[in-house]
Structures are given as C-alpha cells and as structure tokens.
Amino acid sequence: MAHVTFLEAIRQALFEEMERDPAVVCLGEDIGVYGGAFKVTAGLLERFGWERVIDTPISETAIVGAAVGMSYLGLRPVAEMQFMDFIACCFNQITNFAAKSYYRWGAPVPIVIRGPSGGGVHGGPFHSQNPEMYFVHTPGLKVVYPATPYDAKGLLKSAIRDNNPVLFFEHKFLYRRIKEEIPADDYTVPLGQAKVRREGRDLTLVTYAAMVHTCLEAAEQLAQEGIEVELIDLRTLLPLDRETILQSLRKTNKLLVVHEDTKTGGIAGEIAALVCENAFEDLDGPILRVTALDTPVPYSPPLEERFLPNVHDVVRAARELARY
C-alpha cells in the first residue's frame, strides 16, 4: 500500500495498462516530451516510445477521430483533452462517430477520452467547466467521474478495458489535494456502480467528483446536529446506478442531490425524475438540488466562490430537508 495523489493514481493506471497490453496507446497535445499540461503522462514516452505516446497538433477532432480509427484495428487508444472544456471542439466525433458506431454497424469503439475538468482553481470560463452532461445525454457513451485516488485508478483501468467509448473526467482540484493509500497490485473498479461513502438514516445525499469531499465535510457537521446523512458517490454517470439510489431513498425517504455542474439539465434533474417515477410513494419530502449557478464559470475568486456550491450550501439544504 502506497500513499498516492489522485494524479499519481491516474498516471499509474495508464502506465500499468500500457505495460500490460501493447494495444493501449496514448495521444494528445503535449503529452509526450512535456508529459502533459498537468504532468499526468510524465514518463510514458520514455518508457513506451514514440509509437505509443503520440504528441498531436492542436486538433481535438483529429485526436478523437484518429483514436476512433485506431480502435477499429483493435487498439485501445487513450486520448487526452488538455482541458475537458476543449471537448466541445470534437463533439461531433464523440457523439456522432464514436457513440453510434456499434449501434449502427456493429463496430465497437474501445477508446477512452480523459482529461482535467472542474472549477475551484480560478481557471476562468474555459478551463473550469463540467461538460459531462452533454455526453450523459448520448446513448452509446459511458461517462465516469471519480472522487478518490483508489477509484480513479480502478475506474480508469476498467475504462481502458471496456469495449465502448468512455469519457473519463478528472477533477483537477483533486489532482494534488487528495491522497490515499492504494494497493500496489492490479485492481479494477467496475463502471456503473455507485458507492455508499457514508451510511445514514435521515436523508440520502447523491453526488460525485470533487463535491464528494464537500459533502463528506457537510455530513460531519450535520452529524453533530443529529442529522445522519447517507452519502452516495455516483462514480459513473452513464450508465447510472439507479438501484443504489433507489435503495437508499427507500430507507431514508428524503433526497438531496449535489453537483458542481450547473443546475439546468444537470444530473440532479434526471435523478429526481428517476425517483418520482420509481419511488414516489417513498418520498417524505421534496427532492432538493444544490448545484453551481446557471452561469458560465467566472474568473475572479469572489465570483467563482459564489458560483460553486460549498459546505455551507449543502448543510443548509440538508437541514431544511431533515426538518421538513
């Protein structure tokens, strides 16, 4: 067991998968000689060579398109977006080419598109976004967004071994802030399974990514007030682990969803609908959402702090719901 950062866990997953399977290759902007904008891919080129670690032009469409083409010959490319905000540039390749390929003509596309996302680092409107929901709306894709080093490594390995296009979001706020002891040997975490991070009887709090840590802190505070929160970390947004959510709700009868993504069209709305359709008569209160504002991500610190949900927001909503 070694103490590693979130970032190091991802690097280990890439390294170990490339070591295990020569079909795994990496491509992206500045990932080779430079080792990536965040140094996630540092050392890969030296170990695996120019053919397997490809520095590309600034061409997101070409990066994803080439990854799709490589996958048709049986490779398992991992494409890096320097920032996940830039994934908008290759939206078509992902949603129309990769996502529909297997359904339309039976050609699987085993690629991973990974990269840093999320705010809290004063990156401004184009280096802080959470664009996951554009893709959760696209059948054929899988969308993963881990919260801990252990999960990041295990989920990335599963993503690389999966036969479908997987979008792997890495919250950059966690890269060097979160450390965890993880096993040295090979392990995977299955896609599509949420994890109960804390058990509680009073209300269910569903969240993912960096907000898991915000919510754990809020849960500590709420416990001191006698409110026991059951905290679910989704880990995978598509496919969504409906059963874990419904099971917890049937126990606590109240639901709060927290995400760093903006509110309208965020996954909280989908989860609320899921619960209303499947467990309406288990609800003992309204379903509440705590999310970022429906605005672009602003740059200046006081603005961004206002934009992002925080511990206080979560505690206040949970309290209100518990009292209901």
């Binding site: 080779g32 053919e51 048709y72």
Partner: protein, 400 residues
Amino acid sequence: MKISLRREQYLELYYYMRLNRSLEERLVTLFRQNKVVGGLYSSLGQEATSVGTAYALEKRDWMAPMIRNVGALLVKGYRPRDIFLQYMARYDSPTHGKDGTSHFGDLKERHVISPISMLGDLIPVMTGVAIAGRYLGQNIVAMTWIGDGGTSTGAFHEGMNFAATQRAPFVCVVENNQWAYSTPVRRQVPIRNLADRARAYGITSYIVDGNDVVAVYRVAKEAVERCRAGEGPILIEAKTMRMKGHAQHDPAEYVPREMFEYWQARDPIARYETFLSRQGLWTEQEKQQILDRIEREIAEDLAFAENSPFPPPELAEQGVYCEDAYEIKPEWQRPIEEVMPPKASVQAVWQVEDFGGIAEGAVQVIEAAAAPARDGTGRRQVARTPQRGKKKLSARGKGR
C-alpha cells in the same frame, strides 16, 4: 511508375462501373415505387472515380466510402443486395435496418468503415486507421473520399494536417463534382484546383480526369503504392460532375444546362465503352455477357431484398453498448517483442531542425497563385459559360 492492366481487369473495371449505374437506376425505380425508405443519393457521372480509386486497393487495405461511392463498395466486395437492403431498411441489411444508404461497414473481412452524415470526420478517422496499421506492422493503406464541399470542414483540415505530421499511409480522394448540394465549388473554395490545398499540408497531390477510369486507376495505384512505401499521405483531386441533384428530391435546376451538356459528352461509361472497342479489348459478345450478368445479378439480389422482412421493433432497443464478452483483438504482423515488454530507450527531447527565423529585416510576398476573378468565376469557366450562363442561373434560382 509503370502501371498496366490485364485484359480481364479492363473488363472488370467496366463491370463495376456498369453495375454501379444499373444498380442506381434500379434504386430510382424503387424510390418511385415508395420502396426506398428515406432519401436516395445518386453517383451518376462519378462511377469512374469511385471504381478506379477503390480498384487500386488490396484486400488488406482499408477504405471508408461516402454517400456517392457505391462503386467503391462493389469493388471492395459488397453486393447489390446489400445496397438494396440498406436503402429499403430491411432486417437482412448490413446494419439490420439501424442505418441506411452507404452507412455500413465491415471490420473483419472487407475492411470498410461506415461514414457518418457529417462531412470531413472520416479524414481523421482514416488517419487513425493508417497509423494503427503501421503500428501493427500490417503495411496497409487507408483511403477515403470527400467532395469539394466537404473540404471546407474543420475536420478535413485537422485530419489532413495530422496525417501529414504523422506521415500516415493515407490516400484522400477529393471528388470535385462541382456542386456541394446547390452551392457551386467556387463558392465553397476560392481556388480552382482543390489539389492546391495539399501544398499547405506539405504533401503530394495529383489532379486527374475523374471520368477516365483508367487514368483514375493509374493515379490511385501510384498513390497507394507510394503511401505503402512510406512517403506519407497523398491527395488526389478527381475532376468530375454530379449529374443529378443532391438527392432524389432535388431537380438541380440551379445547374446551368450547358454544364450538364458539357459533362454528358464526357460520360465515363460511354467513354470507356468507346475506349474498350477502339483498343480491341472486348468483343460485342463479351460486352453483352457482362450486361446480361449485371441484369441477372440485380434481378436476383432485388428479389432477395424485397423478400427480406423489416426488422423486429425490439431491435431498436438492442446493441447500444458492446458487451464485455465481445473480444477485440488487434492483428499483429510485426514481432511482438518489438513492443513488449516496453523498452526504456526514448530520450524525451525534441530534435529541432532550424530555429524558424527569416533573414533579418526581410519581407516576402506570396501572391495568390491563379486566383479566380472577383466575380467568382474562373478564367476557363468564363470561356465556357459566359455571362449568359450566369443570368440563366439566377433566373432559375426561383426567388433566391
């Protein structure tokens, strides 16, 4: 490069072109009988380009057709029934009714990749195919087609540029059929020769009479072999003409009549028939045999297609994700020891050829070469369709 064809190959080229055309003629009938589900796209007039280029590929090579490359699909081993079934949306079609037209492919046998409707996206995808083939030691070439309009997309540029930086064994055939839906090529691109774009990517290009199947084949064969030899990607511009509208619903009234007449006189099949006869490459009897064979094959395949059921509705819900049990295995044709176990031998340092400057205080002017006139008509086009043609064009524009 000396490229010659055997007599039976000459006849095979004819067979594929003629099959392409007869098949599409039959599709028009089916469309009018309401048996085609959705739109119908014609490659009338472009058969030589599709067939001649695809004919230069080997079995191991990969291709991705566009909507007007039925001829290429036939050359790569698909049969008329596949195309009938696709257009008629039947269960036995290659996509089981999940997609139509030429939107199908085959990773295992024919090495054909399905296009999507968004133009340009195949360029980076085929670049990836070419890079992967090289990495696996397969010595393959990847080929795709794009229209004059499709070269305006960002994906085209990103893909060509990436292919060039990677020196990928990739042949991009630009089918300049003069019209992007209703917009003439000159409104898409302000240069006369689309092949000029290759220079900006630092790659080799060819321009060929797209209605001469032998010329097209020779150029494509040379390009494919140069790619295979490691010379990097090559762009071929084939000058041809879309002799119908964008699809069946489009009567193409925006095309000057003289332009159709000009190209009608250069019909690739009629020209090739004359060529075969003049060169004494076939007898009237052999020609008739080919025509009879095509008629028979089309009749048989159409009967099959018409008897194929529509897909069961529940199929709509199936096959969104590829299950874990599906095994994906690359075909290694180089010693695996070359890549496994990985060797720590790379020094992660860029080799920089020069420092990128220009002579101190220097200024260089690069004039637009052969730039078209400001009114948007090229020199030669003015000669053929003078002002008169232009007026007619707007007169037919139905209020535009």
